[in-house]
Amino acid sequence: MHQKLTPWILKHPVIVILATILLVAVVASGARHLVFKSDYRVFFGKENPQLNAYEAIQKIYNKSDNVAFIIAPKDGRVFTSERLEAIRELTEASWQIPFSTRVDSITNYQYSYADGDELIVEDLALEPLQMDQAALERARNIAINEPLLRNKLISPQAHVTLVNTTVQLPGINPVEEVPQIASKVRELQSQFIAKNPDVDVYLSGMVMMNNSFAEASLEDSATLVPVMFLIVALAIGLLLRTITGTLSTILIIIFSITTTMGIAGWTGFYLTAPSASAPTMILTLAVADCIHILTTLFHEMRNGVAKRQAILDSLRINYQPIFLTSITTAIGFLSMNFSDSPPFRDLGNLVAIGVMLAFLFSVTLFPALLSLLPLKVKPHKARGDLMMHFADFVVHNRRWLLPITSLIMVFIMLFLPQNKLNDDFVKYFDTTVPFRQATDFMQENISGMTTMEISLDAGKSSGINDPAFLQKLEQLSQWLRDQPETDHVNTLSDTLKRLNRNMHADDPSWYRLPDSQELAAQYLLLYEMSLPYGLDLNNQLNVDKSSTRLIATFDNMTSNEQIELEQRILHWLELNAPEYQVTIASPALMFSHIGQRNIRSMLLGVTFALILISLLLGIALKSIKFGLISLLPNLTPAAVGFGAWYFINGQVGLALSVVAGMTLGIVVDDTVHFLSKYLRARRERNANPHAAVRYAFSSVGRALWITTLVLVCGFMVLAQSTFKVNADMGLLTALTILIALAIDFLFLPPLLMKLDTHPITTTEGAIKDEKAKNAA
């Protein structure tokens, strides 16, 4: 088709340009429908079992999304009248945070005590300004010894404290709800700091994390994308020495990106931190097509071919390879549809669309632009010699290159299994992100952000009051506290023990569980009637009082450690409380499982992509043998990349599990270009393998390392993202692409020279072509 298309385009470039601009404008206008969903739940598909377990718990009890003010007086003293008053004011002001349903702090902690036959329930610090030294000291002792508060709302040394607000996100407008909360919370933070300059205040909690997803991505688009454009412009400009060519390429890129995002908007995609990196990736990948077209074009023009004919020639020569490489790249990205995590499916689909659009624009708009714009060609500076020297080097040293490169590859790949599986959502953000700093500070001083919610179901109405059940609950709580990772356990058994003590004139020897169901039930009834709005027990008990939720907080751990701990808890429960039904869930657990789930589903995806791509390659190269040989340089880069990753970072997770599929489609391109040139030399020129390797190097070597350079630069820019998921993805992809080039240059040629010893067996068609040429 392109034989007719290109001449037509060159005849009517203005029509093509105007039509394209019109089309792009209409489609791209859809981008205004794109919204950013800042909610960690978007990482999980509807069928994700951990998400469903967590949602079920949230429906039974109340939701537990939160915002935490971490309050750290510079002199380390929380319990002074002024500080407590400031905290009390902040506690009260926190009720004004949008969607807040509960505010917990050391000042409004509902302290219960006995006075004769009177049960008194009141705020621990009701009127801080009236408290004298003795009262302050007393409040301090109560706070740091209360299991509900210690290591959750107050540090054991009483030098850092938390004001924790629970919010119920309605989820009606997920785009605005979280930023709305964040802006209110920041307003309160700056007010607090203005009034209390000697106190540091940090913001953490799930809501702040959600907000950071959006903010990190926004920051990326504001800083990284312009840098990428600059790098692309510089790379093409310097390497190909053309201003108009560079401008045209940038136009193709912009059109590809805006059209993709427009399609995304029209078809109802929403943006998430991972899928928001689609423009960056499209930018990087779209360059390759133009580089190949420009390289050939200039090569022809240098040889004296007129511009129009050179454009025709370039498109004729490149049409099939860039179509093929675009398709394989798209297939690689489409393999992300196997991912368990919707944002990565979206990312894959968006980039696949973008890559195909880039191809489309490269063969239509690009020649139209080139035909109108002036193109100057400087005389060749014999830079191709460098490639020839390199080819000679490879040919001469093939005997040791093959075993040495193989050995190095195998050696690095050996470390692949040493990578640790880890999706710590706190570490999704680098240490420049305020949320990360706040959460690290919280971890060092009070508690980590890793929680597990354990719902224990007694199986019968009012069953939580049963002494046998309560005893198991207490044992579980105690056992959890004995685990080295545990910071805090919020459990109903503590409340009941405290009430029992209160009911016996605060006699410490009565700090134990009530011994009858009636007693426990009546204590709770009494206590519940004394609690204020928002501080009730409904977040711990279901309506039927048949099940209770215990929340354990742990130090931050790797995914494997969390899964191991979850298994340990389940094992304990199986041994000690088999009669009760149990559900363990939390955002942390959702993240710790998703890496594993995703790796499993992505293995399938990669396999599919590999089969499809290999089939395409076999057809394109017209040879099963070379199709099979191409498998090696296509597969090994990712494996070597992951092996090398062990030395760089050593932790893999959700983001990296998609890298293999994604890079597969990209690294194939190099192999396609190299092998097709090699085969052309063997088949059309009857060259021996050595000469064919030299030919391949001289014809595509340059284009390959330029495209690789641009790709590596592009993904290295992505690696600068403050959002670690994207940064790691960028870094490993850049690394893999670089390794792929090394393999294509140093391993593939010796391999070809080793295996391809027999005279070439071309397909009938090729032989006939050859004969016809020879005859002519």
Partner: protein, 265 residues
């Protein structure tokens, strides 16, 4: 009947339109207060009352739970009413009895008898805003209505479920209240609360309460058979079913003291 009522309604409307200029001097606050006063006036003089109540709690997961209690109240002239509540279900709180002397302003006096402990405990708490028995009703939603507990503002007239209503905003005086305001629909014919919307401390819609099945007792006092509270933020709801209203059973002060608590079961 119907033929008679139509002209009557028109007559009423015309009269209201006619007196509109006269009412003009009345501010929205005064009108709101007047409506509340009228509704209290119409519900004065009932003396003592007994009723049984069922409470059905539901959550978003579809779980349900039943509570059953008996209540008796004694009207007080210049103060909040006295009430005694006996719990029957769940069984583990059976026999627990709650005595409350409510006050228009300040903390109520509250005692609870715990049969398992065989002791009467006085509860000292400023909190009236917490959930009653884990339900969506706060204690403050169920305690007796006194004019001093709120300030008022008349908003508008509105017809709901075929009843012509005043819509009045009520702002709690108690700073420990869980609400910034309640928006209350009171029917013009009998001054009964038909619906109430509760707004939380940040003035977001929190709950809606609807009253249904009003019946008249002693030819004067209206009581609902059913009250439905829906929490819009948590998706939980509570249904109250009232049964066996009895007036004039001859209860007196002696039935509402600490000693009567233990006998209450």
């Amino acid at each position: 009947m119907r033929r008679q009522r139509m002209p009557l309604r028109i007559f009423l409307i015309l009269t209201l339109l006619g007196v509109q200029p006269l009412l003009h001097a009345e501010s929205a606050e005064e009108k709101g207060q007047a409506i509340a006063a009228e509704s209290i006036a119409r519900d004065t003089g009932w003396g003592d009352m007994k009723a049984d109540m069922q409470m059905i709690l539901r959550n978003r997961q579809g779980e349900e739970s039943l509570r059953e209690i008996r209540m008796q109240s004694l009207e007080q002239e210049n103060d909040g009413d006295k009430s005694l509540t006996v719990f029957d279900k769940p069984l583990d709180v059976k026999g627990t009895a709650f005595l409350s002397f409510s006050h228009a302003l300040g903390a109520d006096d509250q005692w609870l008898y715990l049969p398992a402990l065989k002791r009467v405990k006085r509860i000292s708490s400023r909190n009236k805003s917490g959930p009653f028995m884990g339900s969506e009703f706060a204690y403050e939603d169920l305690s007796s209505f006194e004019i001093e507990k709120y300030t008022y503002k008349y908003i508008k007239d509105e017809v709901i479920d075929g009843l012509d209503c005043f819509v009045v905003e009520q702002y709690p005086v108690d700073k420990n209240s869980g609400y910034t305001r309640r928006l209350v629909w009171i029917d013009k014919a009998e001054y009964r609360v038909q619906r109430a919307e509760f707004y939380d401390r940040k003035d977001s819609p929190l709950k809606t309460l609807t009253y249904t099945g009003y019946q008249q007792y002693l030819n004067k006092y209206w009581r609902p058979d059913r009250m439905d509270m829906v929490n819009h933020q948590t998706g939980k709801s509570t249904e109250l079913r009232w049964m066996n209203y009895q007036f004039g059973s001859g209860l007196d002060e002696a039935d509402f003291n600490k000693n009567s608590l233990k006998r209450a079961r």
